[in-house]
């Protein structure tokens, strides 16, 4: 082996430079900021989600600040292509598409969060219980098994078809559509959370907590929940987008919402304008784009959140490269070369 120069000192494990690591109650925020700065796509997703949420709140409080026309207000122009006056064009009834897309924002975002949130709360709680107390031949085990069979029943139907069937049977209306999607949505969270609990609850640190005398309920809600929270939050963020798509699909197929009407919704807009797709493409382009942007922004944000929440991937941001990588080993001058000398051509 060739002699090599001594390697330079390794980068310190923890960056002690001032400002490199802030502690205190605001530390998650600093980390979040650092992750966003280093990851432009998550940053874009974060900004778009913030903008959409802000716009939704504004529209809900006072639509006149952002929206030029009411949902069924006649503008005086039919089938206008996008222009400065009508950024997304107008339809055959003379309604402004831009106004309707914006007015649908609170409905669609609210539905996304509400469905995913209730499914998370209900399914997540059941999943925690089913995963943690699953010892066979006990009360907990019986509860766990029955819960799982129940989710199996729900999951054995194609969820979209089931949701459509429930919507049809409940009748038209936003609330009915929300209920229908919820009924098909919570079993996924039971499965997800239960799987995560099963993976975590046999970890040595759970046994260690038990050995330290921590009670079972506290182990579940402090030690187990804290360790599965990160993937669940990430999944939830991504899921808001999925719910949006599903709701738009149901709105498109089952028509629970009357459009044009007082509460516009992207899926029902696309349904209403589908016949004009070739003639006046902007009528379905912009509602579709709204769905796309919302879903994409939520998945980008979900990826960014994953980096923030996992302390192990956080290390990548704590340990900034302060020292240049070691130079390639320099062979000792006196060492014989290991390379075979090429035979000289004669």
């Amino acid at each position: 082996m060739a002699f090599t120069a001594p390697p330079p000192p390794a980068a310190p494990l923890i960056d002690h430079r001032p400002g490199a690591r802030r502690s205190g109650p605001l530390e998650p925020l600093w980390t979040f900021g650092r992750v966003l700065v280093t990851n432009p796509l998550s940053f874009a997703g974060f900004v778009v989600v913030l903008l959409m949420a802000g716009a939704a709140v504004t529209v809900q409080l006072d639509p006149r600040l952002l929206v030029p026309y009411g949902p069924t207000q006649f503008t005086g122009a039919y089938h206008q292509a996008p222009s400065l006056a009508h950024p997304f064009g107008t339809d055959e009834l003379g309604f402004d598409t831009y106004s309707n897309v914006l007015l649908a924002l609170p409905t669609d975002l609210g539905i996304g969060f509400a469905i995913a949130g209730v499914a998370l709360l209900v399914g997540g709680t059941l999943g925690l219980i089913a995963g943690f107390w699953d010892r066979p031949r006990t009360v907990g085990g019986a509860v766990s098994v029955s819960l799982l069979r129940l989710t199996d029943i729900f999951l054995s139907f194609p969820s979209l078809v089931l949701a459509l069937a429930i919507t049809e049977s409940l009748g038209r209306g936003v609330d009915q559509a929300i209920l229908a999607i919820l009924a098909t949505w919570w079993p996924y969270y039971v499965r997800l959370v239960r799987g995560e609990v099963l993976a975590v609850k046999h970890q040595p640190y759970i046994t260690a907590a038990r050995a330290a005398g921590v009670g079972e309920v506290r182990i579940l809600f402090r030690h187990v929940l804290r360790n599965i929270l990160d993937p669940i939050i990430v999944y939830f963020t991504l899921d808001v987008g999925t719910v949006l798509v599903t709701f738009s699909t149901i709105a498109f197929v089952a028509k629970p919402i009357v459009y044009p009407g007082s509460t516009p919704e992207w899926g029902s807009m696309i349904y209403f304008y589908q016949d004009y797709a070739s003639l006046y493409p902007w009528l379905i382009l912009f509602p579709g784009l709204a769905v796309f942007v919302a879903v994409f922004a939520f998945s980008l944000l979900g990826d960014g959140l994953r980096d923030v929440l996992d302390p192990r991937s956080r290390r990548a941001f704590v340990r900034a490269p302060t020292v240049a990588p070691p130079p390639p080993p320099v062979p000792f001058a006196g060492a014989p070369s290991l390379e075979p000398t090429p035979p000289e051509a004669t």
């Binding site: 502690s23 046999h202 040595p204 046994t207 907590a209 038990r210 050995a211 009670g215 506290r218 302390p311």
Partner: protein, 383 residues
């Protein structure tokens, strides 16, 4: 003779996997007296860790199943206790240090939160005697002596609900100065430099030796009456092992708790333990004061194990080995489990498992039991 702090009596633990039944522990009996350190040695798979986990009932059931026996801790048999009362025994009663320091700290909590939880568990129990399960006697280890509570203080204390729900509902006290100071104190106790910085770190930012020190600090901060150390050094590399062992030795001197020290390293046991138990294939084959067992082993397996240990003073040729291989725990040989490999085995060994360890009276010389499960203990030391 003082009342033993822990009495394990005829403990049998099986692992039931599919149709197979593996006898991990078979009729294990021993006692630990207050302030003594009992070392348990044995080769891999002989049931050392099963024993360590079975005492505070931490074995996953299934697959494990305690077939029979008693584990009497401070006068209470732990095995028939309902599960809900076990947390009140663990931690402050029986503390544990685990084999895998890398995975035994919760990756989502900072060092401070890990230690503060242990400190808070102990403080909660000190403040509410008898509220949760059996009253837990404070261990002989009293690092910071608590003043006795006056009746007026006891009356003004808020009444909290008991049980696991009560503990879950009890709001974690705000990070008080006292808890923080105590956590820092325990970090210094396990010789951690700059504890203020270490407090804020996550486990993945610490080295293996550091993590094991944190584990030790966690276990000690609950002031357990009995500490079970399950191979605390085997996952660490040799230099760190030496550091942690030195620390353990110093702490054993300092805290004077009763300790069950499990290891496969004879040298470690020789330096730390007062008594020594030797395990083979789920059986405890010999128990006695550590010097006596080392000098005059009374079981052929102990003698073979001692001969097989490398010694820096002995370099004449290859190390001794034990002929044959460890028996399959699902098909143990009849009689004494060691007889197929035993150099002094006789026909009776294949039939009779040997005298039970518990039946032996204390030897008249030292007053301490030096018992062996061998039929012919005199022949072992004679050779």
């Amino acid at each position: 003779m003082t009342e033993p702090i822990l009495t394990v009596d005829g403990l049998c633990v099986d692992y039931v996997v599919g149709a197979g039944r593996f006898r991990a522990l078979d009729d294990v009996s021993f006692t630990i007296e207050p302030g003594r350190v009992l070392g348990i040695v044995g080769e891999t798979g002989c049931g050392k860790s099963t024993l360590a986990h079975a005492i505070p009932r931490l074995l996953p059931e299934p697959p494990a199943r305690v077939r029979k026996g008693r584990v009497v801790f401070q006068g209470t048999d732990l095995l028939p206790l309902p599960r809900g009362r076990l947390p009140s025994i663990r931690g402050t009663g029986i503390g544990m240090i685990f084999q895998e320091p890398l995975n035994s700290l919760n990756p989502s909590f900072r060092v401070f939160e890990q230690l503060a939880e242990a400190v808070r568990v102990r403080r909660l129990r000190e403040s509410v005697p008898g509220a949760r399960g059996a009253p837990v006697e404070p261990g002989p280890f009293d690092y910071t002596r608590r003043p006795l509570e006056s009746p007026a203080e006891a009356l003004s204390r808020p009444i909290r609900p008991g049980g696991p729900v009560g503990e879950a509902l009890a709001r974690p006290a705000p990070v008080s100065r006292e808890v923080r100071d105590e956590v820092l104190e325990y970090l210094r106790l396990v010789r951690i430099n700059d504890p203020e910085t270490i407090l804020r770190l996550y486990p993945h930012e610490l080295s293996g030796g550091m993590r094991q020190r944190i584990m030790i600090a966690m276990a000690l901060s609950e002031k357990p009456a009995l500490l079970i150390a399950d191979e605390p050094t085997s996952a660490l590399d040799v230099t760190i092992q030496a550091q942690v062992l030195t620390l353990m030795k110093e702490l054993i001197e300092e805290v004077r708790a009763s300790i069950l020290f499990i290891s496969h390293d004879l040298g470690v046991i020789a330096e730390t333990a007062d008594d020594l138990g030797v395990m083979y294939a789920g059986h405890l084959v010999e128990v006695g004061p550590v010097a006596e067992v080392f000098d005059r082993p009374r079981h052929p397996y102990t003698r073979a194990l001692l001969r097989a240990a490398p010694s820096r003073y002995k370099s004449d040729g290859p190390l001794d080995t034990i002929p044959g291989s460890v028996p399959n725990l699902s098909h143990l040989p009849a009689g004494c489990t060691f007889h197929p490999r035993c150099p002094i085995a006789r026909p009776v060994c294949a039939v009779d498992p040997g005298p039970p360890l518990a039946a032996r009276a204390p030897s008249p010389g030292t007053g301490r039991v030096h018992a062996s499960a061998c039929h012919f203990p005199e022949e072992v030391s004679g050779r």
